[in-house]
Symmetry: C2
Subunit: 634 residues, 2 copies
């Protein structure tokens, strides 16, 4: 089947032998994309051929990987949800606020690189609330919710039948198998979900209920119809966020848009544009128009730029105007550090690393300069009023998050978390969607506490953490120090993991760093899905391991999170095409392969009367008793 490898090339050399497929929902414009990885056949020892069904995987790469689509950065992506939003008849098209002098910072107006837009934006009609939470609470299942249900199921009902059942058995068998703890490739280990409530099959109604009750959010600004609907909540697949954004030292618009597409190609579920450098307004516009996943920002960064980088000059009016500017552009979630209250600021004075959140430090500076309560806290209801007109979700920032192991779980952090719970209730009063940001740097034994405090203080609103980093001593490897923490907190119930790249603490990540961060966090999120027992999560592991055992090298590469690197590492010692079908690798060499030996063992066992069906029906234990030798020492 190798000869066919270039026929399946929607994803180019990044994901060879993959193609884009769509599962259509209740109407033709609900087309949920997935990446189908085609596998080669197994040649069995008896000469027969076993077909290996293709594997479907969650796909965040957007239309760029659809061969029928031609990317034009100046036009942006198709406006997938535009009709859905129009059909709801609760919005109106208005003249957009657009760019106004000073938006990029003082003296920056001349350097603009504007995106060619319509000059218009969409907003809720007066008095309307267009948040997905509002619809959910009215009992409405939106098209976004149906889309998400299909997406989260990843076509696994069909896949189970194809890969596992090979018969008409009901897919409910999976759960039986899980319960029995059986070990056939068909099966998955029972999870430990720490109280999460993950159904066998995700229905649109389940999505609605989770959103209505605040346990999940659908970040979906009506001005970002390009984004493919997705959900963040602990009863769904664990998501990851990739940060991009220029700084005053480095990076251009072109580079940033390229990073957005690169990050979503490798699996970023959302993107945060954390730009603090030149062209902050236009960079965001280009990013949004070309981004197939929700985009978050920290609006205080731009607000600060507008006042010449002097936190004390910030005002509510200027901040409010910045929120409207960004909401009209289509930002899907705002990080708002409204939990940084004046009273918490002095609690950080004795920390090893003080306040490391940029937004947190800005607000702390404002609070102490004016010796007043934060305007974000004071005007929180006003912020909610803006959010519900555009369906901007709130990501309540952890301005007091620890930036060192020493500072983890201290009074400042926990005090702020209590305040975030208070603010969650207020947002929910407005049917505004909320998630809660979390640390940071936390030693492993403190991670579960963080998750439990969050669930408790914030009423199960989704948790969204940065790492956490489990040690401070490895700058240059903080994707790993934090990947460990991320896998753990994802397992414990964290809904979205904000990636950390190898350049954390050291510099601005480049393209390779972005990829390293995304892949590391895909590992963490998937390890968490497996540990929670998310139905079907183990299918890809099983398929990859089966291909490994059968020396189907190409399939092993193609099923990997990063086929390019897997192939390159293999080829570093065995570059020839022959080696791709060889029954060994360079780790052990041709004479010494345990995989090959154990195939011999399998044949021997079969010859002893252990046919596959036999083993499955009678159970292994009984059979192995027949083989039991004499006990020597018992």
């Amino acid at each position: 089947m190798i000869q066919q490898k270039h026929t399946y090339d929607d994803y180019g050399t990044d994901y060879p032998y993959s193609r884009k497929v769509y599962i259509t929902g209740s109407r033709p414009d609900i087309r949920v994309p997935m990446r189908e990885i085609r596998l080669t056949d197994t040649k069995k020892a008896d000469g027969s051929i076993e077909e290996n069904p293709a594997i479907l995987v969650y796909d965040t790469s957007g239309p760029m990987t659809d061969p029928s689509f031609t990317l034009d950065l100046e036009k942006g992506l198709p406006r997938l949800r535009e009709n859905w939003i129009e059909e709801r008849s609760d919005t109106e098209v208005i003249d957009a606020r657009g760019y106004q002098p000073g938006d990029d910072g003082q003296g920056q107006d001349e350097a603009r690189i504007p995106f060619r837009g319509t000059g218009q934006a969409r907003r809720a009609t007066p008095g309307a609330n267009v948040s997905q939470m509002h619809y959910a609470r009215q009992g409405v299942i939106t098209l976004e919710m149906e889309y998400i249900a299909i997406r989260e199921n990843m076509g696994r009902q069909e896949a189970f039948k194809a890969v596992y059942m090979k018969s008409e058995h009901d897919v409910g068998l999976l759960t039986q198998a899980q319960t029995a703890g059986m070990r056939h490739p068909n099966h998955q280990h029972p999870g430990q979900s720490w109280g999460a409530n993950i159904p066998d099959h995700i229905t649109p109604e389940f999505v609605r209920k989770e959103v209505a009750e605040g346990r999940a959010i659908i970040p979906a600004n009506i001005n970002h119809p390009e984004a493919e609907p997705m959900i963040i909540g602990r009863n769904f697949l664990v998501k990851i966020n990739g940060n991009i954004g220029n700084s005053a030292v480095s990076s251009s618009i072109g580079e940033e848009v390229e990073k957005v597409q690169w990050a979503t190609l490798w699996g970023a579920d959302t993107i945060m544009d954390l730009s603090t450098g030149e062209n902050i307004h236009d960079t965001r516009e280009w990013n949004l128009r070309n981004c197939p996943v929700p985009v978050g920002t920290v609006p205080i960064y731009q607000a600060l730029q507008k006042v010449g980088d002097s936190p004390e000059d910030l005002t509510w009016e200027l901040f409010r105007d910045t929120l409207i500017e960004q909401a009209e552009q289509g930002v899907d979630y705002f990080t708002i550090h409204a939990g940084v209250r004046l009273r918490y600021v002095p609690m950080t004075a004795q920390r090893v690393c003080g306040i490391v959140s940029r937004g947190g430090s800005i607000m702390a500076k404002w609070c102490v300069s004016h010796h007043k309560e934060s305007f974000l806290y004071d005007h929180f209801e006003d912020i909610c009023e803006i959010c519900k007109q555009y369906d901007v979700s709130l990501s309540l920032g952890d301005g007091m998050r620890p930036g060192a192991i020493a500072d983890a779980n201290d009074e400042a952090q926990l005090g702020e978390l209590e305040t975030l719970g208070e603010l969650t209730k207020i947002a929910w009063k407005h049917d505004v969607q909320v998630m809660i940001e979390g640390p940071g740097h936390v030693p492993m034994q403190g991670i579960k506490d963080n998750m439990d405090w969050e669930l408790d203080s914030c009423f199960e609103a989704p948790f969204y953490t940065l790492g956490p980093l489990t040690t401070d001593i490895a700058p240059g490897y903080d994707h790993i120090t934090s990947g460990i923490g991320a896998a753990n907190i994802g397992w414990y119930g964290c809904a979205m993991l904000c990636y950390v790249t190898p350049k954390e603490h050291l510099g601005l990540p480049d393209k390779e760093d972005v990829k390293a961060g995304v892949i590391t966090y895909k590992i963490a999120a998937h390890a968490a899905d497996l540990a929670k027992g998310f139905p079907g999560a183990q299918m890809r592991d099983n398929a990859l391991s089966k291909s490994r055992f059968e020396f189907r090298w190409e399939d092993q590469f193609n099923l990997a999170l990063d086929p390019v690197t897997a192939r390159a590492y293999h080829d570093a010692t065995l570059p020839t095409e022959d080696a791709k079908t060889a029954h060994f690798c360079s780790m052990c060499g041709p004479k010494f392969c345990s995989m090959r030996i154990s195939e011999d063992v399998r044949q021997y066992a079969a010859a002893q009367g252990l046919s596959e069906e036999d083993a499955l029906e009678k159970g292994m234990q009984e059979k192995s008793r027949e083989f039991a030798g004499q006990e020597l020492y018992t």
Copy 2:
């Protein structure tokens, strides 16, 4: 202080500003090496200077990094323990078995590259038992045990006084502070050790007791006196192993010795020589003579080579002879797959990945070919007889370890673990030191079970695991998939973590892969030490974070596990010398640094009457109440 950076260069460019120091024990030849990282001073806001005491870290690099030592590979390292062993007067020098035709495999005798040795080896006098466990059980505290006690304490009693107390306070204050959960840089978070018993201060007597009771081992073959004593046990620092070794496809002796030194430079606590290619005898000899840490092997690999790679031709006599060959060379621990019993073999027939342990698959093949119980199992007492004559520790191999998530925790694996417990008791009857090898591929929710089963089945003998990998879907990144599992199992009580490199499943690791594997596992082991609450483990984190907050960039790099990479990443965007003292990095740029802002906040808080002493004495809570604003929403 930057100008002094080249005065402290014992470790060259790999660890700038570090030097080798020794802590001397009860006699002058007990000199325990540590790496001292010198730090620059802090320039405080008021213009005063605060000295930052140097940090001592565990050092596995051996004499190569001592400037008074000149490395000569042909001579090998100094024979540190030779006198200690002689003084015990329970050994004799014998003519070594040495190389015998066929040792490297059939037809390989001509290609030798012999190390110039004495032709002699050391062995216990008839009837004597020279294992550290034997001495421990006689109540003898060996010089090795004293050395280890000093090494595990890492000079932290002194360091605490210097870094933290700045006074004559008793070091016992640390424990008080831990209990109080205070957050000053002086302190460390309380650990969750899952039943481990880690004392505040490790005494030689504690080392003896742990070895006597089998909870820890000191791999220390009397024929490898070059190795610096170290201990593996869950009440000590978590250790890591690095695998090296050529295969039939790749690598030469020179490369392998270079990898040994490279791996120990970056922190490998033991090395396993897993060679299966040419010059297997000589490669091991060169490695041992130049290796400052204990060396383990899997003797069945060489035995198989001697019989032309046909497992069925293996015999006990040939294997026994191989053990003696390697024991006389100085191998410190043998992986023996004596738990692979005939009855377990058919249990693997339905696995996704069958048997992935090379040793396991060889023995399985032998068992099924002869339809007989394994000769390793049948002759286990004979193996113990050999081990106690040289003090070779046993690492009981997990030949049935799962090679895929699907195969984790199955009957074959758990059956073998029970047998390993049985064998542990037999080894202990002979006062032979034992550790237990573990998986492999295990989803996160199954890791603690593995640890608990091991402690229970094997009577708290130290656990030594490969990873475990927490998902199968990321070939090319298996240092990370497994680093997550390793950190977790280290936390739960695993004593040594066998590294996995990025090339796992794909090819033979090169030098950069070895380094990536070692650094990733140093992260996992340290994260585990922090989580267990190992006394003093947090000192390095605290020092690094303090340097980060104070923009002492050079100190931040030098305190990192890998200063070279940290510096290179920083310099990728800000290469000038100025940037090393700048109060910003390229992540945020000069105008927008949260660290700088929070220094302003700190000064503000201080101006409000929150002096450091004040804060520490009266507690933060009271003070922050003074700052509390009005509650708006409660």
